[in-house]
């Protein structure tokens, strides 16, 4: 089968080189479509690049650091809280509480701001708690599903090896699902960036990339909006890659049974 035919064959596994060529081609096509788009409102690559330079001179770098730090803090907090809550579902007492928390992902952050404002002592704390909450409700849902899906066979194996029930939890739920916890973290760390602009829009103290984005959007400076989005995308991709590298480092067994490695 030729390379060209292989990329359209169902379940085809491609060589690394072919994948690289495929990605490069598709990125180039998207870039060309963007560059030569007849849609007049869409800012051109050159305009976006100029806007990015201007934003950088005005302090986008500092705002990015503020946002990155806030997001990192929120993801760390959300990860700890969500993992503890999800692991707690091994005890029937905590299952209804976690199920209820999971349902809160349908709520809008705007409606919860007042409640969080009463509890927070500073603007940073308010942003952090709003962001950690919004990531946690998704994280805990994903992780509780992972735990719910552990096959009976794995519990049986641990029990036949004379493990007590807490040791079974440690071996099967905690250690045995680390690779899947990384996957859930990867998804929810991305949600953090998505929520960040909303949170920084609700609480404007400390600034942040979300505040600038909302300001530029408000004044309809589309080139600047694109520049900020592009910067967030690059940061997000780097974060995603970093989590992927950590997963491969700590869980080298995770990819062994996959068809598409």
């Amino acid at each position: 089968m030729t390379h060209a035919a292989a990329v359209f064959a169902p379940n085809a596994v491609l060589s690394r080189n072919t994948v690289r060529i495929l990605v490069a081609t598709q990125v180039t096509v998207v870039f060309l479509l963007w560059a030569f788009s007849p849609f007049v409102l869409l800012p051109k690559p050159g305009e976006v690049l100029n806007a990015l330079g201007e934003l950088w001179r005005e302090g986008l770098g500092t705002e990015l650091i503020t946002s990155f730090y806030l997001n990192l803090e929120a993801i760390a907090l959300a990860t700890i809280v969500s993992l503890l809550l999800a692991y707690a579902t091994v005890m029937p007492f905590f299952r209804p509480v976690v199920a209820l928390l999971s349902k809160l992902r349908f709520l809008s952050l705007v409606g919860l701001t007042f409640f969080f404002t009463l509890m927070a002592k500073s603007g940073h704390q308010l942003k952090l708690s709003l962001l950690a909450f919004s990531v946690s409700v998704f994280f805990v849902t994903g992780m509780a599903d992972v735990i719910e899906g552990v096959p009976k066979e794995e519990f049986d194996l641990a029990r036949t090896l004379r493990m007590g029930e807490w040791r079974v939890v440690w071996e099967v739920i905690v250690l045995g699902q680390v690779d899947k916890a990384f996957d859930v973290l990867r998804q929810n760390a991305a949600i953090g960036w998505m929520m960040l602009t909303m949170v920084e829009g609700i609480v404007r103290s400390e600034g942040g990339v979300g505040t600038i984005l909302l300001d530029q959007n408000h004044h309809f400076r589309l080139a600047a909006v694109f520049a900020i989005q592009l910067t967030i995308l690059i940061l997000g991709l780097a974060q995603d890659y970093g989590i992927g590298v950590a997963k491969n480092l700590f869980c080298p067994y995770a990819a062994l049974t996959l068809e598409r490695k």
Binding site: E153, D156, R159, T160, L161, L175, V178, Y253
Partner: protein, 275 residues
């Protein structure tokens, strides 16, 4: 009595009137049987019991009860003469998919089992490496289970369970989906594990009549019995037991090629069909 001189010692595994119901539906009904230590002068001789029965007759349910993983509705299974029900971990279990912890290497999986009984890490490590050599897996210790072949995974799962259990090993359908060569190797492996210690007892749950007859010293035939008018009784039990030692049909290389073995297999199959 057959050609090999033997006697029976202490009761190693006892199943007493075990009943099991799911949602009021009887699955097992008054299952009773026992395995006794087979003593053959001058050699180490373990016990191998084949549990035969048609699909859906409750073999796996009985398997889980013997393993201490499921509590029976009534009745009891005990091992080693203990006056209490068997506990999970006392009987090793190797199920059809040869489960291992995928997040641990072969060595990690085996050390986990060895350290449950041997607290000294070096002694546990030595025991594990010895068994890996014995089962020709010494060069696989650093691999993850996903990197093992089916046969290697089976051997690794067996080592893990014998490291931890009290001489008992339950095997669920170990012959399922094997080609002729692998089937012979599995039978040799079962005999090898059984004969590692006088008290080693292997219970093989299967529906492969020929393979079970070739590896076992006793056979338990499971199924639903009939009342006087020929109606099937609810719930399965052990309807027939065969002693292959008495029939001089075990511990002999090449026995499966003999006419009397073939006749015996036919007899068991005929009984099997009536279940």
């Amino acid at each position: 009595m057959g050609g090999t001189s033997y006697s029976l010692g202490q009761t190693l595994l006892k199943i007493e009137n075990v009943c099991l119901e799911y949602d009021g539906r009887p699955v097992l009904s008054n299952v009773s049987a026992e395995v006794r230590d087979i003593i053959v002068p001058g050699r180490v001789q373990g016990q191998v019991v084949g549990v035969l029965g048609p699909s859906g007759c409750g073999k796996t349910s009985l398997f889980r009860i013997i393993a201490g993983l499921t509590a029976p509705t009534s009745g009891r299974v005990s091992v080693n003469g203990f006056d209490r029900p068997v506990r999970a971990g006392e009987v090793g279990v190797v199920s059809q998919s040869y489960p291992l912890f995928d997040h641990r290497t072969v060595l990690g999986n085996l050390m986990l089992a060895a350290k449950q009984k041997e607290k000294d890490s070096q002694a546990a490590h030595d025991k594990v490496m010895g068994l890996l050599r014995e089962f020709e897996l010494e060069d696989k210790f650093s691999l993850y289970p996903a990197q093992l072949s089916g046969g290697q995974r089976q051997r690794c799962a067996i080592i893990q369970q014998i490291l931890c259990s009290e001489h008992f090993l339950l095997m669920d359908e170990p012959f399922s989906g094997l080609d002729l060569l692998m089937l012979e190797k599995t039978c040799e492996l079962i005999a090898k594990v059984a004969d590692m210690d006088d008290l080693n007892t292997i219970v093989v749950v299967t529906h492969d009549v020929t393979a079970a007859c070739s590896v076992a010293d006793h056979l338990w035939l499971m199924g639903r019995g009939s009342d006087g008018s020929g109606n099937k009784l609810p719930g399965s039990s052990i309807v027939k037991e065969y002693n292959l030692i008495e029939r001089d049909l075990c511990w002999q290389p090449g026995i499966i090629t003999t006419e009397r073995f073939t006749t015996f297999v036919r007899e068991v199959k005929d009984e099997f069909r009536r279940l």
